[in-house]
């Protein structure tokens, strides 16, 4: 198995990761009632439109966070 130093390094990496993972979790929980309401209304066009709109935002957030961390981590 890995050493204790590896465990500490992993913990540090995960702490930084957890800072950035909070936002998508909060936003997805916030949009959940709207998605449920749209799905229950049977209006699939609106449901798909809402999903695609949020999906683009989440996609760009992932790209932004990855490139941010890639650029500002020292080699």
């Amino acid at each position: 198995m890995l050493s204790l130093v590896d465990v500490a390094v992993y913990e540090i990496s995960f702490r930084v990761f957890s800072v950035f993972q909070i936002l998508p979790v909060i936003v997805s929980a916030s949009v959940f009632p709207q998605l449920v309401a749209l799905y229950n209304s049977g209006d699939m066009i609106q449901f798909k439109a809402a999903y695609k709109r949020y999906s683009y935002s989440f996609w760009f957030y992932g790209l932004f966070v990855y490139t941010f961390m890639y650029s500002f981590q020292e080699r």
Binding site: M1, Y10, P24, L35, V36, S55, M69, Q73, E74
Partner: protein, 146 residues
């Protein structure tokens, strides 16, 4: 990273960078899980989670038996998230929420963007990097060949 956690953990930078590969899939994965639950497909979502967990654990143990490195853990988690995302895509395509074109576009443009960024970042590192404490900003602004 060494500025925040000390020079003993300088290696954390490289591993953090690897771990953030998962961030390319995590936000959309969370949203797709929310969509599945909104569509009353909680059991499907739970099954996908279990598949992802089993894949993650299996890959970590298999990888660590050959290479004892944190890279194995980070890459295994990334692959399990990729599997998680692909399973969600499959269900959403079957339910006609997504099309195969949407799914292919997502993976293609994400991969193309990341590859292009990684290749170009080395050329433009002097522009996009923050200066380290104690290092003159002029060193960062100098052209790479000087």
């Amino acid at each position: 990273m060494p500025f925040l956690f000390g020079s003993n953990y300088a290696a954390a930078s490289a591993y953090t960078r690897e771990m953030f590969l998962t961030m390319l899939l995590f936000p959309t994965g969370v949203l797709q899980a929310t969509v599945l639950i909104a569509m009353k497909l909680e059991r499907v979502d739970m099954t996908i989670n279990i598949i992802s967990l089993i894949a993650s654990v299996a890959l970590i143990f298999a990888g660590l038996s050959f290479i004892r490195s944190l890279t194995v853990v980070n890459v295994s988690i990334f692959i399990s998230f990729l599997l998680f995302h692909i399973c969600q895509d499959y269900v959403l395509v079957k339910r006609k929420i997504l099309t195969i074109g949407n799914v292919m576009n997502f993976y293609f443009f994400t991969a193309a963007f990341v590859v292009a960024y990684v290749l170009l970042a080395s050329r433009f590192r002097s522009i996009i990097s923050l200066p380290s404490p104690g290092v003159s900003p002029s060193l960062y602004l100098a052209p790479p060949n000087e």
